[in-house]
Symmetry: C2
DNA sequence: TCATTATTGGCATGTTATGCCAATAATAAT
DNA sequence: ATTATTATTGGCATAACATGCCAATAATGA
């Protein structure tokens, strides 16, 4: 059953996407409620899992993680059925900050974050290419982050 | 000049990546400081741009954004030099939640979020394929989100 | 060793979160 | 339409928190 969200709920989500540390007083003001019902709605959204959590967004360059790679992984045809083990392996790699199983030419697309090329080479050789079901890996190096950590396009209806 | 971060700064970043709404008292406790210097450090990290902001992480399915596509865009060779206009155009599309210029076979990889296939078809036809410098577009549909919104692998040294 | 600078912890004050209750608004049944 | 029922709201009181200031401590360099 999809959770029903009214206009105020969507405003709350929008506001908290823009600034996850808004005080409840400020948030209430923005969405046109008094603090008390506003807080109840936020708690409900958290409870229901609509809000999965809160994150500080960190500048990658500032923490010496200047290299982002979109790594496309192709899986051996025979192991495609039991790709669960590969998923778990990918999920456990800290440098893989996001990963999707996709329907295109590659089977997985992973976003990998490392300090530099040497670190990526090490990860590729020692970790990614060691995964047994991997048939082929193609690396797309990010030369420029055009847009990152953007808010979701919440439907307004 | 790279901003120097000591062990406590890294602990702060780690903690705020895990929970961006930690109270300063709780954060101070976790990193082994009293609230006052802890708050000063957080403010400094915000000031210096190491912390770029705070975000609520929202469940895509809960807000009817169940379809994620990694759209690979290839640019006409002659327009590659002045790709700035394309970048700006991509950045302005709300459904594009992240986008990188890459060094591989495609020139851009965009992460697109829409409610369903019909919405993607509309975006593709009416927006993406209308961009004048685009030579080819390949769509990788996410069938399963293996890992999303993961924390950065902060170096511990 | 001493002087200088940066960083810390504690304290006081204003702000915020949070739980409770009565009042209001929305909904459903007759 | 009217009334009963339910859900949601706003206000209030209390406890926790943020924030700025100052003296004390720790780190740094001469």
């Amino acid at each position: 059953m999809p959770i029903s969200l009214d206009a105020i709920d969507r405003k709350i989500l929008q506001a908290l996407q823009d600034d996850g540390r808004l005080t409840n007083v400020e948030l209430a003001d923005r969405v046109g409620l008094s603090p008390s019902p506003c807080l109840r709605r936020v708690k409900r959204l958290e409870q229901e899992g609509v809000i999965r959590g809160y994150r500080a967004v960190i500048d990658r360059n500032a923490v010496s993680l200047g290299l982002t790679i979109f790594t496309e992984i192709k899986v051996d045809r025979h192991t495609r059925a039991r790709a669960d083990a590969l998923q778990a392996a990918l999920m456990a790699i800290p440098q893989v900050v996001s990963c999707h199983m996709v329907s295109g030419a590659p089977d997985f697309i992973a976003e990998v974050v490392v300090p530099d090329l040497a670190a990526y080479e090490a990860l590729l050789s020692n970790v990614l290419l060691e995964l047994p079901m991997v048939e082929d890996i193609r690396s797309n190096f990010s030369m420029r982050a055009v847009k990152t950590d953007s808010a979701l396009p919440l439907p307004q209806e």
